[in-house]
Amino acid sequence: MSNNTNDTAVLKCENLAIAYKVRGGEIEAVQNVSFEIHKGETYGIVGESGCGKSTAAWAVVNFLGSNGYVKRGNIWFQGQDLVNKDGEELRKLRGNNIAMVYQDPMQALNPSMVIGDQMREVLTVHQEISEEEATQRCIDMLEKVYMPDAANVLKRYPHQISGGQQQRVVIATALLINPALLIMDEPTTALDVTVEAAVLDLIDELRREFDTAIMYITHNLGVVARVCDKVGVMYAGEMVERGTVKDIFKNPQHPYTQGLIRAVPKLGANKEGSILYPIPGRVPAPNARPSGCMFAPRCDYVTERCRTEHPELRRVGTDNVDVRCHLTEEIDAAAWVPGDNIDVPDLTKRNLDTEPIMVLDKLQKYYDVKGSSILDALGFGKKRHVKAVEGATFSVPKGSTLGIVGESGSGKSTLIKTIIGLEQATGGEATFLNFDVTTDLAERDPGLIQELQMVFQNPDSTMNPSYTVGQQIGRPMERFGTVPKDEVRGEVMKLLKQMRLGENYFDRLPRQLSGGEKQRVGIARALASRPDVVLCDEPVSALDVSVQAAILNLLLNVQAEHKTTMLFIAHDLSVVRFFSDNIAVMYLGEIMEIGPSESIYAPPYHPYTEALLSAVPVPDPSAIQKHIRLEGDIPSAIDPPSGCRFHTRCPRKAMLPNNGKICEEQIPPWQEGADGHKIFCHIPIEELATFDPVISAPNSGVAV
């Protein structure tokens, strides 16, 4: 390897422009991108989807496909120009010095090969290493990434280990060649927050140990704040701002960066106390970019000069920040006022009823598990169940929002599927108004079906691609007869207007809409039958932050106007906190803590809630966060742990006598705090109340 000192960059991109050849011409996906990454440094690249983050990374490893190529500029890797290298030379260089980690570990690992073979291959292909030595090095590396039982993991197939462990294997594989540059493309986006936190810790630790340069691509500002030293913000294929993480979060210069930060709910912010401001408009398509500043059509400060003259990246002020903006010196972010085109929910009209609209009492959902033995086939086998939801008890006041949080596998989706009737409850009681909602849809009265509607997670599959927007919103009205046939069109138009979509959307097909627009249509469809309750299953988690803010505002408006009751699932704790009046925290099918949202995010915490909160990436590099990491994986829901289901991973178990023997033997009591705040734990609530807040941010003064 070449003799790098700390000042020569491991990777240096200069005025990089990448183009794709398409029918009828060429599209410049990325242009004017310059940055350098030094040894032992993590460089974050952030931006919304479609801004060219991944394309820039692929250019470094020459994965642009047959129709993509580097049009202008240079990529220097350890002093060598990568752009003009031919295939074989590049392959060697890449194999020995550059490694990449992708978003979905299940797609990065070959499902038909044992992990050991996949890892060893990395070593044996590029280097002369014997099988035994390669195996040993794989084991060592897996141990470095804290993989339990490393030697045995090598003999397993990818599906036999959990998602977090898979990502550890991918990272370990990437580190095996001791790369000078590690490219990570959203490596934690598909993971749960607790797993994400552990992986981020790991990345940070490994960078220090191996002195690797890391290029870290993500859309999550919180993650950037946690792991990156420097950051480059990309917009519409260009780098619009770059600098150290501290400077950029403290004092963002570019209006786009400012907008991004304003669009994210702070952990601990609520809808009464703060407002999310979406960035109006959307990222222009690569073939429809403006000639002046890319951000001009969406910018609040736009002048004539911005529209005609393309700004260059330039150093401003005393900070080490480069900005691509004509007006940086004139913009004062603190004096910003929202433009007229942003609609901010008006929550003043809201007064909450205390009368519950929906009451659940020990609702339970078990799935039968089919065994594979002969006895099972004959029907004599022991009956086993996946205990997806157990003893869910709560009531939801009319017009309020209940947020449900928990990791994947916690049963939050099953719970709302049971309420809406896609699944039939296997025990307990649930009533909505005076209807019994433990039955499945086929047995429900149309009047009940009409009152419970759902908003779905994935904007790409929420709409039927074969029908127009108008047809899809109109269908529930026709089906339930809420609106006379000849007035359906007018009613749909009204809803479209309420969703801030123009009348010309009526005849559009889903493929002509953006993700945020599709989600708006999904919400309109759910509201079309005028339901009392809308269940939202991660409605914003697939959206970019600025779109997310707009959708959240829209939902708040809808709620204020129609007094709709909402059940809101999200894995993003800041979003849930912002959006909900009450929150239930679920773990392995059981509710662990429930209460008004402010009480959930402050002591007394349930130990699980505490761990969740300490794992959330906070978009503030100066925030001080408690460090609690859960050990191991979520246990199987077929044989959940006895007593308290959380006891196998509980970091506070030791506080009780006999190292928490009681947690293993007895089901915990519901302890009541103030305002209906309830905690499902053996540790006395007075003791839980003595814990320190998880996050303290000296800058904003917010303590959570």
């Binding site: 398509a285 429809a288 809406i420 009737g421 896609l422 499945d440 849809l441 086929a442 047995e443 429900r444 149309p446 079906i449 419970l452 509607q453 759902m454 779905f456 997670q457 994935n458 599959s461 929420t462 709409m463 039927n464 691609p465 074969s466 029908y467 127009t468 108008g470 047809q471 899809q472 269908r475 529930p476 089906r479 339930f480 123009g502 010309n504 005849d507 559009r508 097909l509 002509q512 999904g522 469809r525 759910a526 039958s529």
Partner: protein
């Protein structure tokens, strides 16, 4: 995607225009379409004009190219060119309904109604809410044919004869349309409903696939006799399992989408979900597959004609022409080669068209 362009709701014509645009973008599909169109034009022309009367022996038998017989004559002196042109008719252009009694018509209508009613009732029967309605429908479907039989026998309907006539569109296309209807309904139920319904339906269809196809054809034709309608029935039944498998896999994929959940939470009937929510999104691959199946059907008709079990005379069919000319191949090779060329170009044309279209469709899906 720009906001100022006001888009229109899709109509049948705009859909066809879209498909034509797709076709024009693929060279393979364009070539295929040209080959198919060529035979369609030839077939249409043959109704009004052929160089000679295709069924009359006008020339010297087994001669090559000669004056008035551009592609030679067959063993009894009929014009090869005219016969090949007319051979397009039974495959693509017309279906001949033979001389039948009113009673036989009654039975036929009862049979078709039973199948249609059964196909409509089957989804209902597999739905919890409409189960009763579905089973009643199935029972009615099951007794339709016996009732029609009793009516036909007890009255004088069997003695009233309706003369033969032809209906538009050829045997290959009707056959494929039949297997598409039968197969996609069964496949959609199996895929969307799952569980026991899936197992029973697919196992029956798999048993059907396990038969060698040509044996299945011969069994049906031997049992029911030669004829255009029997051929349609044979093609429809043997094609259905393949269509059903494709429809099932499409349904399995599409049913996991959120818009299906949305339809379920609206309390839509299973029939609505299967045919209005799933089918429109599965129809592309099914149609491409159907195009290929028309090719197979042409091939099958040719094969059966070659075996002497194809479409009944007097209208020529390509397979039969080859079979009859086979013994004199040495003397008059054109009598074999011309219809063979016809089969090959039509089948290859359909294949190219379907493949090209499929490639274009999938390219824009992701």
């Amino acid at each position: 995607m720009t906001t100022e362009t006001r888009s229109k709701a899709p109509t049948v014509w705009s859909n066809i225009a879209n498909y034509l645009k797709l076709v024009s973008e693929s060279r393979i599909a364009t070539i295929g379409l040209a080959m198919v169109l060529f035979w369609i034009i030839v077939g249409l022309t043959s109704f009004v004009w052929t160089p000679q009367d295709p069924n009359a022996s006008l020339g010297i038998p087994n001669r090559g190219i000669q004056d008035g017989f551009m592609l030679g004559t067959d063993r009894i002196g009929r014009d090869n060119l005219s016969r090949t042109m007319a051979g397009t008719q039974v495959i693509l252009m017309k279906t001949r309904i033979p001389e039948l009694s009113v009673g036989a018509y009654l039975l036929g209508i009862a049979g078709i109604s039973a199948i249609v009613l059964g196909l409509v009732a089957l989804p209902w029967a597999s739905d919890k809410r409409t189960r009763q309605k579905g089973f009643i429908g199935l029972i009615i479907a099951a007794v339709l044919i016996p009732i029609a039989n009793i009516i036909a026998n007890s009255t004088g309907l069997n003695d009233i004869i309706i003369p033969k006539f032809a209906i538009p569109v050829g045997v290959a296309i009707w056959g494929v349309a039949g297997s598409l209807t039968l197969g996609s309904t069964l496949g959609l139920i199996a895929g969307y409903r799952g569980g026991t319904w899936d197992q029973v339906i697919m196992q029956i269809l798999d048993a059907l696939i396990a038969f060698p196809r040509i044996v299945l054809y011969l069994v049906v034709i031997t049992a029911l006799g030669q004829g255009d309608l029997v051929m349609i029935f044979a093609i429809a039944v043997t094609g259905a399992p393949g269509v059903a498998r494709l429809a099932r896999s499409q349904a399995l994929e599409i049913k996991s989408r959120d818009y299906i959940r949305a339809a379920e939470t609206r309390g839509e009937s299973i029939w609505y979900i299967m045919f209005r929510e799933i089918l429109p999104n599965a129809i592309g691959p099914l149609l491409v597959d159907a195009m290929l199946r028309v090719g197979y059907a042409v091939f099958t008709i040719g094969t059966l004609g070659f075996l002497g079990r194809g479409l009944p005379p007097p209208e020529p069919d390509w397979g039969n022409m080859i079979n009859l000319a086979r013994p004199s191949f040495g003397q008059a090779p054109l009598s074999v080669l011309v219809p063979a060329f016809a089969i090959v170009t039509l089948v290859v044309g359909l294949n190219l068209f379907a493949d090209g279209l499929n490639e274009e469709i999938t390219r824009y899906q992701k």
